[in-house]
Symmetry: C2
DNA sequence: ATATATGCAAACGATTTGCAACTCC
DNA sequence: GGAGTTGCAAATCGTTTGCATATAT
C-alpha cells in the first residue's frame, strides 16, 4: 500500500500502532476511538486512548480516513476511499452502518446548492432507522 | 398557540423561562443552548445553562423542537413544524443555516431504504459549504 | 542523533445530574 | 400543598493537551 509512503512523505513515522490501526480498518469499515481501544485490549496490544485519538487525527489530516458524527456520541471513522463519496443508513437498534451511493441524490443536491448560490464543500446524508434484524427484534438499545 | 396546552397536558408547568425560550424560537430559527443563554443575558434575564438544557430536552421530548448536530460543536435546535421535514445548507463561513425541502430526494431515500430492507425513522441531509456572501469574502472563521 | 510518538494524568467543553430552595396550579 | 422547576456546583463523557520518556529513521 502506498499509504505508508504517503505518511512518510508527510514526515510521519510508521509505528506498530499506526500499522495496527490501518490493519483494523481493513477488517472493520467503521470504527471509533473506543472500539479501537477495546479491540486492541482483547488482543493484548497495549495502547492508550490518547494515542488512538492522535493517530486518528493525523490520519484524518492526511486524508487517509474520514470522520463522521452520526449521533451525539463518539465520532466514527472510516477509510477515505479516494473520490468515492457515499452516504449512510444507520441502524438505531444495533448501530450497524450501511453505505450507499446514489448519483441522482448527489445531482439534486448540487442543483439545490446552485439555486441558493451556495458553494458546496461536502455533505452528509444519514438515514436513521432499523435494519432487517432489528426491525424484527425491535430492541430498544440506544445506537452506539 | 396550542403548544402550551400540549405541554400542560403532558404535566409540564408553563414557566416564564419556557415561554421566553418559545418566544426566542419564533425570532430565531436555529438556536443552541449557549446562544440562548447569551440572548437572555443581553436582555438581563436571569437563567442558568442547566435550566436551558433541561427545557430544551423537555421540548424535544414533546416534539416541540428538533435537535440537530451540525458539526462537532453544540447541538442546534429548531421548532419542529409538524410533518414538515427539511434539510440544511450550512455555511462554513458564517454559520448561517438555509433550509430546503426536496421531494425527489425524500423519495429516493425511501427507495434506498427499501432496497436495504431498512425501516426509516428519520434522516438528516446536511450540505456544508459557503453562502453567497462568504463565498466572496472567504473568511476562514470556523462554523459555529 | 533527533524529530516524531507515546503514556500518563490533568485539562477541556458540552451536557447532565444531585440536591436544596422555589414556583406554578 | 405538592408536583414540577430552578440554580448551583459537582459529575460525566468524549476528546485534547503538557510534559517527560521512548522510538523510528
Amino acid at each position: 500500500m502506498d499509504l505508508t509512503k504517503q505518511l512518510k512523505d508527510a514526515g510521519i513515522k510508521i509505528t506498530q500502532h499506526k500499522l495496527a490501526i490501518l490493519a483494523l480498518f481493513s477488517e472493520h469499515k467503521h470504527l471509533d476511538a473506543f472500539k479501537i481501544l477495546t479491540i486492541f485490549q482483547s488482543k493484548n496490544i497495549d495502547i492508550s486512548l490518547a494515542t488512538i485519538y492522535r493517530i486518528l487525527a493525523s490520519f484524518e489530516e492526511h486524508n487517509i480516513i474520514t470522520k463522521h458524527n452520526f449521533g451525539n456520541e463518539h465520532a466514527n471513522y472510516e477509510l477515505a476511499v479516494a473520490n468515492e463519496h457515499h452516504d449512510h443508513l444507520i441502524c438505531m437498534g444495533c448501530g450497524k452502518v450501511i453505505e450507499f451511493v446514489n448519483q441522482e441524490i448527489e445531482e439534486l443536491q448540487l442543483q439545490i446548492a446552485k439555486q441558493n448560490q451556495f458553494e458546496v464543500h461536502n455533505h452528509t446524508l444519514n438515514i436513521y432507522g432499523f435494519c432487517v434484524e432489528c426491525k424484527i427484534l425491535k430492541t430498544s438499545k440506544p445506537i452506539n
